[in-house]
């Protein structure tokens, strides 16, 4: 099913990962790779195991079997924050800004990685000028720089989704994981944010995108991995993948049919 032989070592390798919650098999021996510089769509009907897969990558859940490798380094036994410091960044589906500080300060918190790596070091770091500067650039990058001084509580979801993205970018990740960034947005907002995501990818950030909005996924992703019932059922070019009968039936059986035909 692999479309191309891997010429370079993959940035992220998922090697026959299985996740079991008690008696429930959430992910069943899934393998795939993410290559440097690509925008990969991880899709599938509800309950397919996409979010669980993402959690296995970030470390919220531990795989029962298999391993997760970031540039050849095994991540399985690392805590979330350690994985983040090794180059992962996560934009969460449910936006969770820190509500007592401004948007810019929210992003600066992520940008301060070098200063916050240890409490003792953080105790002797006062200046936040550099981080605020970088934060402002990231806010510009996602198009909400004019709201930098606002508090999150007063902002609409569209802005908070972009804030979440800016915060993840401020971590300077090698791999950016986006968990349904378009969910809850209207079609115009979703279209705009998808453009931003594609642009960030063009700037050289490798991205894994989990998304239900198939129209946008087909538009911006270079490659798709499709999960269904915890198994990988297809992988490859978006058009080719969506044409595969197993994918069509998975979506037609479970999800909105017009989305599948959107391709």
């Amino acid at each position: 099913m692999r479309t191309q032989a891997t010429s370079t070592a993959p940035l992220l390798a998922i090697e026959s990962v299985t996740v079991r919650f008690g008696g429930l098999l959430a992910i069943d021996g899934v393998s795939f790779e993410v290559r440097e510089g690509e925008l990969l769509g991880l899709i599938g009907p509800n309950g397919a195991g996409k979010t669980t897969m993402l959690r296995a990558i970030t470390g919220v859940v531990r795989p029962t079997q298999g391993q997760v490798l970031l540039q050849g380094e095994r991540l399985n036994d690392l805590a979330i924050d350690q994985r983040i410091r090794r180059g992962l960044a996560l934009s969460q589906q449910l936006v969770r800004p820190l509500r007592t500080i401004t948007l810019q300060e929210n992003v600066a918190m992520a940008a301060a990685q070098a200063k916050t790596v240890r409490p003792l070091r953080a105790l002797f770091q006062v200046s936040d000028a550099q981080e605020l500067d970088l934060a402002h650039r990231e806010l510009e990058r996602v198009g909400i720089a004019q709201l930098a001084a606002q508090k999150p509580a007063t902002q609409p979801l569209g802005v908070l989704k972009r804030l979440e993205l800016a915060r993840a970018l401020a971590l300077k990740p090698r791999l950016l994981l986006l968990d349904e960034p378009l969910a809850g947005l209207n079609s115009k907002e979703a279209h705009g944010l998808a453009d931003t995501i594609a642009e960030i990818n063009r700037q050289g950030v490798t991205i894994v995108l989990i998304e239900h909005n198939l129209g946008e996924v087909m538009r911006i992703c270079q490659r798709l991995v499709v999960l269904d019932n915890g198994r990988k059922i297809a992988e490859g070019e978006p058009q080719a993948v969506m044409a595969e009968p197993v994918v069509r039936s998975a979506y037609l059986g479970a999800d909105a049919p017009e989305e599948a035909s959107h391709a």
Binding site: I101, M109, P119, L171
Partner: protein, 285 residues
């Protein structure tokens, strides 16, 4: 004059104690229901070393160190889990402390430790010393607020899961807050031992833990200035009104409940709200 000196010294020690808890509960969002145990460790350390011939000033770092070590041990065993569990563990620690000390003859057992040697600073000198230390601890608190440690604490207090996703080693930061907070509690304990010159296990029990928590909550969780004011005020109350001394747990527990129910941000939030309301009225006028 004697009365004022005693009162000011008591206030200064309470301020240090309250600020030490404020670092843990106010800044970092970790509830401790047994903070008096750490003050007790500091007090007993200073008292025993003082009686063994150590000079007063040398007992202070030792008291801080021992309290901090106990704090880190308690922290390591409970900070990886959620706050509510920490509250129960710390409550257990304070009962454990009191129970342990009461059974130890070498710590004076039920009788407590008496005739703790004089600090040699004179009554006014000791008061000044306590006030200066209080000011230093307040300054340290304000400084921490301005550092990246303070910013991270603030984030952890609000949403530790998000901080993890931002690459923060949350348990380590909580432990740091615990280490600093318990060391400062030990300092306040050492001062208290030399101030009272007599200590017993009951000085460092659950009631005292609730008292100091109510100081932090009454002041406004996290606000340094208001916690200082609240600690000074609430530590003086029992001296001014005998009845409060008799019904300590009722008064401070009640205060804690009322604050949590009606102004979770404490006096700091109450003041901010009143100022805002005043301004709004001016604007309308």
């Amino acid at each position: 004059m004697d009365y004022e000196i005693t009162l000011l010294t008591t206030m200064a020690i309470s301020v240090i104690f309250a600020l030490s808890l404020n670092l843990i509960t106010g800044f970092c969002g970790q509830i401790s229901l047994g903070h008096a145990a750490f003050q007790g460790v500091g007090a007993y350390t200073a008292a025993m070393l003082g009686k063994a011939g150590w000079p007063f000033l040398a007992t202070l770092p030792a008291a801080m160190l021992l309290a901090c070590v106990l704090g880190v041990i308690v922290g390591l065993s409970s900070l990886r889990v959620r706050e509510d569990f920490l509250a129960i563990t710390t409550m257990g620690v304070v009962f454990l402390f009191v129970g342990f000390v009461r059974q130890q003859d070498w710590l004076g057992g039920e009788m407590g430790v008496s005739s703790i040697p004089d600090h040699g600073l004179g009554r006014v000198g000791f008061m000044a010393f306590a006030l200066v230390l209080g000011a230093l601890v307040a300054a340290l608190s304000i400084y921490i607020r301005c550092t990246w440690m303070g910013r991270v604490f603030n984030g952890i207090a609000e949403d530790e899961d998000t901080m993890r996703v931002l690459g923060i080693d949350v348990p380590r930061y909580k432990l740091a807050a615990f280490a600093i907070g318990t060391a400062l509690a030990g300092l306040s304990g050492a001062l208290l031992a030399y101030h009272l010159q007599f200590i017993g296990a009951e000085n460092f029990g659950f009631i005292e833990s609730i008292t100091v928590l109510s100081m932090v909550v009454f002041g406004g969780i996290g606000s340094v200035a208001w916690v200082v004011i609240a600690a000074a005020l609430l530590s003086a109350l029992p001296a001014w009104f005998q009845v409060i001394g008799d019904y300590k747990l009722l008064v401070y527990g009640g205060l804690l409940f009322l604050m949590m129910r009606f102004s979770p941000g404490g006096m700091a939030a109450l003041a901010a709200r009143l100022i805002r309301r005043g301004k709004a009225r001016e604007d309308r006028a």
